[in-house]
Symmetry: C2
Subunit: 479 residues, 2 copies
Amino acid sequence: MRKATAPPRKPLFGTELSVLNVGLASFAEEIVRAGGSASQVAWQPPANGDAETGATLARLVNAPAIEAANSKACEAFLAAQPMLSGVGVAREVLKGMSGRTILHSGPPIAWSRMCGPMRGAIVGAILFEGWADDAKRATAMAASGDIAFAPCHHSAAVGPMSGVISPSMPVWIVRNAKQGNSAFSNLNEGLGKVLRFGANSPEVIARLKWMADVLAPALRGALEVMGETPVKPLMAQALHMGDEVHNRNVAASSLLVKRLAPALLKTRTALADIAAVLDFIAGNDHFFLNISMASCKAMLDAAQGVPNSSMVTAMARNGVEFGIRVSGLGDRWFTTPAPVVDGLYFPGYTIADAAPDLGDSAITETAGVGGFAMAAAPAIVKFVGGTPQDAAANTLAMGHITMVRNDAFTLPTLDFAGTPACIDIRRVVDTGILPVINTGIAHREPGVGQIGAGVTRAPLACFTQAVAALGAVVPPGKE
Amino acid sequence: MRKATAPPRKPLFGTELSVLNVGLASFAEEIVRAGGSASQVAWQPPANGDAETGATLARLVNAPAIEAANSKACEAFLAAQPMLSGVGVAREVLKGMSGRTILHSGPPIAWSRMCGPMRGAIVGAILFEGWADDAKRATAMAASGDIAFAPCHHSAAVGPMSGVISPSMPVWIVRNAKQGNSAFSNLNEGLGKVLRFGANSPEVIARLKWMADVLAPALRGALEVMGETPVKPLMAQALHMGDEVHNRNVAASSLLVKRLAPALLKTRTALADIAAVLDFIAGNDHFFLNISMASCKAMLDAAQGVPNSSMVTAMARNGVEFGIRVSGLGDRWFTTPAPVVDGLYFPGYTIADAAPDLGDSAITETAGVGGFAMAAAPAIVKFVGGTPQDAAANTLAMGHITMVRNDAFTLPTLDFAGTPACIDIRRVVDTGILPVINTGIAHREPGVGQIGAGVTRAPLACFTQAVAALGAVVPPGKE
C-alpha cells in the first residue's frame, strides 16, 4: 500500500497509451480499467493451441516442396475444362460398379452405421434394381452383406444428399477436355419425396424408372445434337445471375433448359416424351446442381495426386462423418463426426429433426463456388439465412484459406474478383477459418425429405489430421 | 491597414471555425485560405435557378391537392397486375391503326424531322406491309403524307428504339388484371440487322414475315396453354437474377423460355416450327424486353389521368426529342431535344456515329426498373459502363426523386429494399437529380444497328415545363 506522503511514482510510459492486445483479453481489460485505450484482436493459436500440430504446421508453412506442389495442383485445377459430354448408365461408365454395388455420398461407411436418409435411399435403389420386391426384404439384403457399398468419390462420381447411385441408374458424364479425366453424377429428381432424401415409395421408384427409360435417352440425344458443352462458361454466367451453383441453380438450370429444348426437338424422341421431359426439367430449379457437382469433381480430380500438395480436393459427408481428401495424400479420407446444421428450418421442423450434414455437394465449395461464391448470390440468404452482407463476408473470408482467385468465375458485386479457390489445409488450421458450406438439411428419418437449409462449416479436425499426415509425408529437412 | 501599435482586434469568433458552405464555393475557399476549415456542399438552386419555376415549385411542394393525387396515382401503380395475355395483330388490337398508320417511339414527330434509324424502320414497315415494293418508293410514300404517323404511346403501346409498329405486325397483349387497361408491344427481333435499329434489307423483312406467320401464332397457342401469366413475379425473380429488365433480360428471357417450351409442345404447331421458334427465342437474351416494357406501360397507365398528380407516367425518345407525360396533365408531352449518349461504344464506333437517345424503353425506368434497379444488375456495368458501386449508387439516388418503394420488386444487394418508383416532377426539378436511363445506342444512319450502350439522364427541361404546366392546372389558393 502506497503512503500518501511517498514521492509520486514516475509514470512507466511518457505518452498516452493506445494498446492493441493479442491473446488473453484480460490484459486489454486491465488497461481500459486503468483509464487507457486498448483494442482486443480476435486471435487464437493455430490448431486450437495443439502444440504438436502447431509444430508440424510451423515446419510446413512456406515449405518449398509444398509451395511448388500447390502451384502445380492449382494450375491443374484452373486449367481444367469440364465438358458436359453425355448421359451414361452407371454400370457401363463407372469403375467398380460390377455386380450388386451401390454408391453413396461422403467417406466410406458400413450399413450398420448409416444415417436414416441413406438407408432409405439404399432400400429404394434395391427396389429400383429389382433385387428385392419389398422394403423389408431390401433392408435385410442391405444388412446381409450381399451388397457392396462404396463412396461415389471412389468411382469419380458425386451425388447430392445420400448420393445413392445403383448400377442401372443414368449418370451425367462430364469430361475434362484439358487433362482427360471424367467425372459423374446422378440426375436430379426434383424436390419433395425423392430418393436422395431417403424416400423409396412406389412413386419415387416409378420416377426413377421414368428417368432411366425416358429422361436419360432424351437427354443423351439432345447432348448429341448440342455436342460437348463447356460447363465453366455456363457456371460463370449463372454466377452473374445470382446463382452460387450449389443451393441456388435457377439461372444455370434455366440457361441449360434454353439449350436443351431446341436440341430435344432435333432428336428422335417422341413428342409426348419431349413434352414430359421439358415439363420435368423446366419444373426443377435444382436440375443443374448435379452437373455443377460433376464439373467441380472433374476440375478437382485434375489437381488430385500431386505429391506434397496441401490442396483440398474433396469435402464430403455421409450423414455420420465429414471427410476430406488432399491432393498430396492420395485416396485417404480424413474424417470426423458430421455436424448438425443450425440453419433455417421449414415450418414444423427443428434442428432436433435433422440428420447430420450429408452429401457430396460440398464438392462445389471445394471448387470455390457454393458458399465460397455467396457474394454472387445475395438472394440465397432468404433460403440459407443471414444477410446479403454476410454472404459477401463469407466469400471474402474464404480468401484467407484459399490459394487462388479463379478468374473463370467472377463476382460482380466484388468488382468482378474471381472466386476464392483451392483450399489449403495449412491455412485452415493456421487461421481457424473453416470452409463455409451452403447446404440442404435432410430429416433424420428416411423419406421425410428436405426440412431446411443453412450455412455450415467444415469441421477443423479433418484439417488437423490432414496436416499431421502431410507432416509425415514431408519429413523434416525435406521441405 | 492595421498599425503594429494598434491594440489587437478582438477576434470575431471565440472558437475555431468549422464551416459548411452552401452556395458559391468562393466563400468556403476564403475561409480555408484564412486557415479555417470549410466544406463545400454540392447544391444548386432548384430549376437551375430559374426564378419563375422556383416560385411555382415553392407553391406546389407539399400542396395537399397534389399529395392526395399522388397517393392515388402511386397506389394505382403499385396495385396494377400486368398479365401476359396473348399475341394479337396490331390492326386488330390497337386503337387508331386503321388504314395506313405506322406507330413510332417517343413523342409525336413528322417524317421530315425523324432520325435515320426511325426513317429506315418506317421504310422497312412499308415494305413489310407491301404498300411499296422497293425502298425508294417506300421513302417517297412516307414523305408524301399518305401514311399517318403516331406515337406508340397514343395506342397504349411501346416499342424499343425506333418502336415502329405497322398494322400487320404481331404485338404482345399485356392486360392489367387490377384496373382492366391493356398495353402492347411489338415482338423482339434479336440483335444485329433489325428493323428497330432502322435496317430494312430483305433478310429483315423476311424475318418480320416469319415472326408474323410462324412465331406469333405459335406464341399465341403457347400462351393459351399457359393461361394468363402474371408478369410482376417474373420480373421480380429476374431482378434477383441480375437483370434490370431493360438492357439485361437474360434471366427473364430464360425463365420465359422455360415456361414457353413445354407449352409450345402442347399446341398444334408443326414440330419443325416449334424447333425454329425455340431456336429463335432461346437465342435472344433480349426477348423478354418487350414484355417488360408493355408490363411497365400497363402499370403506369393505371396511374395516368389522376387530376393534380405530379407523377411521371411516361418517358420516351424519338431520336430527336425526349418527352415525358405526367399523370395529372393528360395526354400532353413535355419535350426537349434528346441527348446523345456518352456510353460504351462497340469497336470502330464513337459518339459521333450515334443517333440521339431513341426508344420507348425508358418506360422501364419510369416504372422504377431499368436504370432505377441497377443495384440488382451489377454485371450490367460491363455493357453500359461504370462500376458495380455506381450501379448501386444510381438506384439509391433515384430514391430522392421518387415517391415509393415498390415491394413487388426487391433488390437483394440493398437488403431487399423495393425499387424506387413513381417519379415526381417536383422532386426532379427541386433536387436537379435527373432520372437515370440504361439504353442501347443506335447508329445515326439507318440499318447499321446498335453501336453501343450506356447510362444517360432524362433532360431537366421536360420536367421544368411540366412543373410550369402543373402550376397552371393547380392555381394559387387551390393547392
